[in-house]
Amino acid sequence: MFILRRMGRMGLFLAKTCYYLFRTPFKISWVLKQIWFIGTQSMLVIFLTGAFAGMVLGLQGYYTLNRFGTTALLGPMVALSLIRELGPVFTALMVTGRAGSAMTAEIGIMRISEQIDALELMGLNPYRYLVVPKLVAGMISLPLLTAIFDVVGIFGGYLIGVNLLDVGKGTYFGEMANYLDMQDVLAGVYKSFSFGILITWISCYKGYYAGFGAEGVSKATTQAVVLSSVLILFWDYVMTSALF
């Protein structure tokens, strides 16, 4: 019963957010600020994790493919793994840790210090000012960050496969073009877009209903990261089953 009530409240929170998403006035400057926070400021961590993920894929992929004598397929293997699966999931997990936790803490502190009440008493809707800009920024930033992750990862795999091992330069990219199609790219975009909604939804919800005091905010932040991470992997499975 308790879980059902919580799920209902979460659903209602998302429904209200979506309602205000299409209501004027749009807070463009607030959205841009959030894109800067969620997107731009996450670029370094995405660049680093993308590079290392690509390098590991290059290394592991090469040794695995070598057993079957098909190292020429390293490029497509790295690209398909990244674009269809690892790029969206890793990016979402990184953004959850870096920006999702901060979103929960920010809204949670606003809740316990009565800043959200103050906003309401000015006749201003907290969903419009605090939640909607984050949701929009998440929907825009996640696909772009995922694209950066994918590209950097592909070059990470190239660095290992071509520069350190013996895969041909032309082969790496040439084979990639033969095996990748638009559906793979679109699947990655759909996934990252939905992860953007999921992360901001869970993070804002947990902050909005944070408990009392510093402990309440700390608990809400932990719950937001754990729940978002689990739901990202669950939703990834659902989308993979549906898309491929």
Binding site: I109, M110, S113, E114, Q115, D117, A118, E120, L121, M122, G123, L124, N125
Partner: protein, 248 residues
């Protein structure tokens, strides 16, 4: 006009308000007094529409605030000013931006006019020169004065003050009370003030309600409350240790 009818509220099974009824006429200020935990701030939050009553109604100009739709409540809130006990300033904004926030978001006045009004409001509360500081960089008293400037800058029709002078030094506390009084004279807002500073607050209010154990024990003019022979009222007004009010 604010009218509270038979208000009941419980938190986790503990009944904080047990049938509160009172009325504040337009242009009048009501002081809510009573021991800590007697439910004064809870009443204030009900009047503001931040808490939903378990039973009873809160009417603003004869409209039950919980019968309003969300957009109508937002419209009603635009007539409110609320001074929170903690100040509730936006921590990511400077003092100037905190005070300007409401004007920028809810009115169509030019940035130049916003600047003029904010500087006047900050000057009134003695905060000239602190415009560029963040809430974390100023004292508790300055936070409260910024919050007061923020709540008054839009000339609200209904003002709710939750312990406006708590934690302030006597001079600043006196200044704040005088300021509330002068703004009330100038704009004639309807107000509710929760305070323990009885002597100062009694100078600016027209009506006082004393709360005890979730009910209004007595209500009357400041002179009537001061002269009351009710043991609980006497104990509270004189600050005596002996009497029916027990420390919790």
């Amino acid at each position: 006009m604010i009218r509270i009818e038979n208000l009941y509220k419980s938190f986790d099974g503990f009944e904080v308000l047990r049938g509160i009824s009172c009325e504040v006429a337009t242009g009048e200020i009501l002081a809510l007094i009573g021991g800590s935990g007697s439910g004064k701030s809870v009443i204030l939050k009900h009047v503001a529409g931040l808490l939903k009553p378990d039973r009873g109604r809160v009417l603003i100009d004869e409209i039950d605030i919980w019968s309003l739709r969300r957009s109508e409540l937002e419209q009603l809130h635009s007539r409110f000013g609320f001074l929170f006990q903690s100040g509730a300033l936006f921590s990511s904004l400077t003092v100037f931006d905190n005070v300007a926030f409401r004007l920028r978001e809810t009115s169509k006045i030019s940035e130049g006019e916003v600047r003029k009004r904010v500087l006047v409001a900050l000057d009134q509360v003695g905060l000239q020169g602190a415009e560029d500081k963040y809430p974390a960089q100023i004292s508790g008293g300055m936070i409260k004065r910024t919050a007061l400037a923020r709540s008054l800058v839009g000339n609200p029709e209904i003002m709710l003050f939750d312990e406006p002078t708590t934690g302030l030094d006597p001079v600043i506390a006196h200044t704040i009370i005088n300021l509330i009084q002068s703004i009330h004279k100038a704009h004639g807002f309807t107000g509710v003030i929760v305070s323990h500073e009885l002597s100062r607050v009694f100078q600016i209010v027209q009506k006082v309600a004393m709360l005890h154990e979730g009910v209004i024990l007595t209500m009357g003019s400041p002179a009537e409350i001061t002269a009351s022979q009710d043991p609980a009222v006497r104990q509270f007004v004189t600050g005596s240790l002996e009497g029916p009010i027990k420390m919790r």
